[in-house]
């Protein structure tokens, strides 16, 4: 017999559910996730290097996870700051997903981390649709990329809670039109804050850190128009069955559970490579995440849904 069945399920419901669970869990232990999106070459890593160093000087416990299709170059650069850094190689996948992030944090992220910067894969299209459990979503664009970038990538810019312009030290040489850029951002994401930075000259240094700490403190992050709940459809997100990530354990026991084919490498401050495959990689790491526990912290919900 042939029949039509109504499903009414959001396609990304699983990712959204995993992201929310991760956000709740991390918020409960005092960790704020900052998701950094940009095109390749916009200067995410250079800016982050400076911000991590600054955080260390101010004794703010930060960590960074950087995702690329290949090479560990970014992690090597970021690790120079002396803070915990992890490289995730996606083996060609163009974005990170919440469940994937959760598994990478498991057993690695130090317990006392206040801020976790996630440097997403350099791409302004794909990562935009995936909530990673962040409390602050940042989009970066360098002055060389053209003032119309926000119009060309409206989802990425439209869902950002902070827009960071990089490489302002060469703005004049490339005739960057700041007013035009601001107007284009305003069109797709009215009200979002735009800050000017130069990792080389130090302009705007510390702003990313300050905004991230403010987001962690729950003080008024921007809610983009595009991210506001749509009332008209009524049935926004289907309930999610089965959370996609395990518990975040303290440190130590490498609980691997690498279900996807990406590798992960740790970069401590001193030593660069640790290629040991996680022991017991096939440890189904479903720790019967019971729901009661999940909802027992009525913590400050991040002000905005980033999807």
């Amino acid at each position: 017999m042939c029949r039509v069945v109504d499903l009414r399920q959001a396609v990304l419901a699983k990712n959204d559910g995993a992201a929310q669970a991760l956000r709740d869990e991390l918020t409960a232990r005092g960790t704020t996730v900052v998701n950094l999106l940009s095109s390749p070459g916009s200067g995410k890593t250079a800016l982050l290097e400076r911000e991590l160093l600054l955080a260390r000087e101010r004794s703010v416990a930060v960590a960074a996870l950087t995702a690329d299709l290949a090479t560990e170059n970014d992690a090597v650069r970021l690790a120079r700051s002396g803070v915990p850094v992890k490289q995730v190689l996606t083996d060609g996948l163009c974005h990170l997903e919440a469940g994937m992030l959760g598994r990478h944090l498991d057993g690695w992220l130090p317990e006392d981390t206040r801020l976790l910067f996630v440097e997403n894969v350099g791409n302004l299209v794909c990562p935009a649709g995936y909530d990673l459990g962040e409390s602050l979503r940042v989009v970066l664009a360098s002055v060389t990329e053209g003032e119309d970038k926000p119009l060309k990538y409206p989802t990425a810019f439209g869902l950002a809670q902070l827009v960071v312009v990089t490489k302002t030290d060469i703005a004049q040489a490339v005739e960057f039109d700041e007013a035009a850029f601001r107007a284009n951002v305003e069109r797709v994401n009215p009200g979002v804050e735009i800050v000017m930075t130069s990792a080389r000259k130090g302009e705007g240094l510390g702003l990313l850190l300050d905004r991230s700490l403010a987001a962690g403190a729950g003080t008024g992050t921007h809610t983009p128009v595009m991210a506001r709940r749509q009332q008209a459809t009524g049935h926004d997100h289907a309930p999610v069955h089965g959370h996609d990530h395990g518990h975040l354990h303290g440190h130590g026991h490498g609980h691997g559970a690498d279900h996807e084919s990406d590798h992960h490498h740790h970069h401590g401050p001193g030593h660069a490579h640790d290629h040991t495959p996680a022991p017991g990689a096939d440890h189904g790491h479903d720790h019967g995440h019971d729901h009661d526990r999940d909802h027992e912290h009525p913590q400050v919900q991040p002000a905005a849904q980033t999807r």
Partner: protein, 131 residues
Amino acid sequence: MHEMSIAMAVVGQVEEAARAGGAHAVTSVRLQVGELAGVVPDALAFCFELACAGTVLDGAELITESVAARARCGTCPGTWAVGMPPELCCPGCGRATDVELLSGRELEILSVRWEDGPAGPRTREPIPEEA
């Protein structure tokens, strides 16, 4: 090209529902895609075909319904077509403090058409409620 991930998520969810419903072949999937969902329907259709191979959805048709993005301003009358690239400041008053996006971010499986009943081999017994 995150359309492959999207296609795989669709197939995964439909597979789950089909298994629970005792379906032995899914013939079509109806999907709603908003103008601002960041998904390219052609790319999605291509990936969908690949993602269906070897599953209960093998050969299933993907029917995509696009949804135009519309917004309204809390202080001005009427709604407007947001367009692409989107214009999210009110064309009336130029402000955006009270703008609401009414539609355009949808990415949802609406319905699925499948074959069930005794014809053909089953991978699982149907659950009693569906029998």
